[in-house]
C-alpha cells in the first residue's frame, strides 16, 4: 500500500468518502418542529445584528457587546468625574422628599397618540385609549422581521414588570394609522387596523402597556378590526365585514375537499373550483390571470389536504391556510378560479400558503382513516400545545372496541394511540389538545342517531416523551 501521498490530496480523498444524502428522520423532525412551533416574538430583535454581519462590524476587533460595555463604562466614569468635581450644593430648607406632593393618579381616561414602530413600511401614528384611566403608559416596541403571532391579538405579561402587558398583533406595511382601544372593565382590547392597498404580508406590531397596578395577561383578550377602505379616512364600516364563501373543490380521490373563502377586499364576485390534477405543476401557491378580472390560484397539496381557508386581503393578497396532514402522501394540485368585480393583476399579488398555522382558524392537523366498518372518516386535531409532530390513522378493522368507549395506549415513549367508539357518521370528529398537552377532548360530531357505532384508531407522535398517565381524556358532545 502506498503511504507516501500528498496530505492535501489524501485529505480531500478521505473526506470525499462518506454519505452525501441526509437521512429522512432528522429532516422530517425539523420540518415538523417548524410547522408546529411558531417563531417566538423577539422583543429585542432590532438590537440583534444580521446573522451574517461581517467581522468589520466589530470595533478594533472587539465584540459589539464589549464595545457597548466599554462605552457605558466611559460614560459612567465621566459622570462620576463631573459630579464629583462639583462643589457641594447647599440645599435650602424645605419639605423632605417624602412630603413632596406625589403625582396624583388621575382617573381621566388615557388617550395618547404614539408612533408605531415597524420593520417594513413607515412608522405611523396609533391612538391608544382606555376607559378607566388605569392605563398609564403605552409605547411601541420595535418588532423583529416576519410575523410571530397568529390572527387576533396576542397578550402576554411583561416578565420584567407585573403591571405591564405586551400586546402583539399582525399589521401590514401599507398601514398609515390605527387605534388600540383598551377597556379595563371588560378586560378587552380592540385593535383598529386601517385597510390599505399595498403589500399585505403580515408583520408584527408590538405595544407595551403599563397600568397602575398588577395585571394578568390571562384575563385579557383582544380582537383586530379592519376598518376603512383603502384611501378612506372614515372609521369602521360594517359593510366591510369579511364575507365567507364555502366551496367544494374538485377532487381526484373519493374525499371531499373544500375551501372557505374569506373576502376582505369586498370585490369578490364569484369563485369556482379549478380542475383536480394528480400531478402538481407548481411548487408553491401561484396566481395567474385568466382574464383581467379573473384569477386562477393554484397550489400543491397532498391527498390528505381536505380543508382549506383562502383569505383575500383588502389589496387582493391571497393567503391559503390548511392543516398539517400526514407527510409523504400522494401529491395533488388544488386550484380555484376567483372572479372580481374589477381588474386584478395576478402578477402583483402577494400570495402565501401555510400549513397548521396557529390562529388560522384551521385545525392544526387533519387526517383521514377507515373505521372498523370500512367507512371513511376525517379527523381534525387542534393542538394548542404545539407538541404533536405527526399523526396517522391506523387499521381499525381488527381492533376490539374499548370497554370505556375510548382507550389510550402507550405505543412508544413519544407515541400514543387513541382508540375510540363513536357514531359512524360523516361529520368529522374533532380532537382538541390544550396548551399543556394533558387535556384532550374528543367531540364526536353530529350524526344520524341511527348510525351504528364504529371503532376508530389513530396514533399521535410528540416531540418528546409523553405518558398516557398524564392525559385527562374526555369525549364530549359536538360543539362542546
Amino acid at each position: 500500500m502506498t503511504n507516501l501521498i500528498d496530505l492535501d490530496r489524501a485529505l480531500a480523498d478521505f473526506l470525499e468518502d462518506g454519505p452525501n444524502t441526509a437521512p429522512e428522520a432528522p429532516v422530517v423532525a425539523a420540518l415538523a418542529h417548524a410547522r408546529t412551533s411558531p417563531r417566538r416574538p423577539d422583543l429585542i430583535g432590532w438590537l440583534r445584528p444580521d446573522v451574517m454581519a461581517p467581522p468589520s462590524w466589530r470595533v478594533f476587533g472587539l465584540r459589539p457587546s464589549l464595545v457597548l460595555a466599554g462605552i457605558a463604562l466611559v460614560v459612567a466614569s465621566l459622570g462620576v468625574a463631573v459630579i464629583g468635581s462639583r462643589q457641594p450644593t447647599v440645599v435650602p430648607p424645605g419639605p423632605s422628599p417624602t412630603t413632596l406632593p406625589s403625582i396624583a393618579p388621575t382617573n381621566a381616561p388615557f388617550a395618547r397618540q404614539i408612533t408605531m414602530l415597524v420593520t417594513a413600511g413607515q412608522p405611523y401614528p396609533i391612538d391608544v385609549t382606555d376607559t378607566t384611566g388605569d392605563l398609564v403608559n403605552a409605547v411601541s416596541t420595535q418588532p423583529g422581521e416576519g410575523r410571530s403571532v397568529g390572527d387576533g391579538v396576542h397578550i402576554t405579561s411583561d416578565p420584567a414588570d407585573r403591571s405591564a402587558l405586551i400586546v402583539m398583533w399582525g399589521g401590514v406595511p401599507c398601514e398609515s394609522s390605527g387605534a388600540l382601544r383598551v377597556d379595563e372593565r371588560t378586560s378587552t382590547m380592540t385593535v383598529e387596523s386601517q385597510a390599505c392597498a399595498g403589500d399585505t404580508f403580515p408583520l408584527d406590531r408590538i405595544v407595551r402597556l403599563t397600568f397602575r397596578s398588577e395585571v394578568s395577561a390571562a384575563a385579557w383578550s383582544g380582537t383586530v378590526r379592519v376598518v376603512g377602505q383603502p384611501g378612506a379616512s372614515s372609521p369602521a364600516d360594517s359593510s366591510l365585514a369579511p364575507d365567507t364563501t364555502h366551496l367544494e373543490l374538485a377532487s381526484t380521490a373519493d374525499s371531499t375537499v373544500s375551501i372557505d373563502i374569506v373576502d376582505q377586499s369586498g370585490h369578490l364576485a364569484g369563485a369556482v373550483s379549478g380542475p383536480a390534477t394528480a400531478s402538481p405543476s407548481v411548487e408553491f401557491v401561484s396566481a395567474s390571470n385568466v382574464d383581467p378580472t379573473t384569477v386562477r390560484l393554484v397550489w400543491p397539496g397532498s391527498i390528505c389536504d381536505t380543508v382549506h381557508r383562502l383569505t383575500i386581503a383588502a389589496d387582493f393578497g391571497l393567503t391559503v391556510d390548511r392543516p398539517n396532514c400526514q407527510l409523504g402522501l400522494d401529491a395533488r394540485e388544488r386550484s380555484v378560479i376567483l372572479t372580481f368585480d374589477r381588474a386584478v393583476d395576478a402578477n402583483a399579488l402577494d400570495t402565501g400558503l401555510f400549513s397548521g398555522r396557529p390562529g388560522s382558524g384551521m385545525p392544526t392537523w387533519s387526517l383521514t382513516g377507515r373505521d372498523s366498518a370500512g367507512g371513511r372518516y376525517d379527523l381534525g386535531i387542534d393542538d394548542a400545545s404545539a407538541s404533536v409532530i405527526n399523526v396517522a390513522a391506523l387499521d381499525s378493522s381488527a381492533v376490539a372496541g374499548p370497554s370505556d368507549r375510548f382507550r389510550l395506549d402507550q405505543a412508544g415513549q413519544a407515541v400514543i394511540e387513541l382508540v375510540w367508539i363513536g357514531p359512524g357518521c360523516a361529520t368529522p370528529p374533532r380532537l382538541s389538545i390544550d396548551a399543556t398537552g394533558s387535556r384532550w377532548r374528543l367531540a364526536a360530531g353530529t350524526c344520524d342517531p341511527a348510525a351504528p357505532d364504529v371503532v376508530r384508531r389513530i396514533s399521535l407522535k410528540f416531540d418528546g416523551s409523553r405518558s398516557i398517565d398524564t392525559i385527562d381524556f374526555q369525549q364530549v358532545a359536538a360543539g362542546a
Binding site: 503511504n3 478521505f14 444580521d50 454581519a53
Partner: protein, 185 residues
C-alpha cells in the same frame, strides 16, 4: 422559484418554502456534519438542530443571497456543539507542542494512508476538523471560510494552517506509537 425567493418566503414563515429550502440544503449540510463528527447519529442530531436553528433565525438573515454561507455557519456550529456535548472527542492542542513553527504545511509533503488519516482526524478538535472539511470537502476558499466562520481573513488562514499542523502532528504521533499500519516516511 429561485432560492432567493424561497429564503424570502421562508423568512416570513411560509412552511412550504422552508420545506423546499431544507430539501435543497439538507444533503449538503449532512455531508458537512458527518465529516466533522465522523458519526452517523451525531451528524443526524447536528443536522436536525441546525435545521431548527435555521428556521428560528432565518428572519435575521438580511441578505437572502447569503443563505448558503450562513447555513454552512449554522451546521458547523451545530456540529462542533454536538462534538462538545458528546464530550468524547480527543483533541490536539491548536498548535502542537512539537510542531516545527518554521515549517509551512506544504513542507510536510505527504504522508498518510487512509487509516492513519482516520485516526489522526479523530484526534484533532472538532473546530479544526470543521475548517478542513470546509476547505477540502466543501471546496470553500480561505475567504469563504472566513465568511462562514465570521472571522477575519487572516484568522481563517491561521486556523487552516494550525488545523493542518495539528492533523500532521496527530498522524506523526500515531506513527510513533506504532499504531499506524505502516511506518511513516
Amino acid at each position: 422559484m429561485d432560492q432567493r425567493e424561497l429564503v424570502r418566503r421562508a423568512a416570513k414563515g411560509e412552511h412550504e418554502a422552508f420545506d423546499a429550502l431544507v430539501r435543497l440544503a439538507s444533503n449538503r449540510l449532512y455531508g458537512i456534519a458527518y465529516r466533522i463528527l465522523r458519526d452517523q447519529y451525531r451528524a443526524e442530531d447536528a443536522l436536525q438542530q441546525a435545521l431548527i436553528n435555521i428556521w428560528n433565525e432565518l428572519p435575521r438573515l438580511r441578505d437572502p443571497d447569503r443563505f448558503d454561507a450562513w447555513t454552512y455557519r449554522v451546521i458547523v456550529r451545530a456540529a462542533t456543539a454536538e462534538a462538545r456535548r458528546a464530550g468524547a472527542t480527543p483533541t490536539t492542542p491548536l498548535l502542537p507542542a512539537d510542531a516545527d513553527a518554521s515549517r509551512a504545511p506544504d513542507d510536510y509533503g505527504a504522508v498518510a494512508d487512509r487509516d492513519q488519516l482516520e485516526r489522526g482526524f479523530s484526534r484533532i478538535s472538532a473546530e479544526q476538523r470543521a475548517v478542513l472539511v470546509l476547505q477540502h470537502y466543501a471546496g470553500l476558499s480561505q475567504a469563504e471560510i472566513a465568511d462562514v466562520l465570521g472571522v477575519p481573513l487572516g484568522t481563517a488562514g491561521s486556523r487552516i494552517h494550525y488545523a493542518v499542523r495539528a492533523l500532521r502532528a496527530a498522524i506523526e504521533a500515531d506513527a510513533r506509537l506504532g499504531t499506524g499500519r505502516e511506518s511513516m516516511a
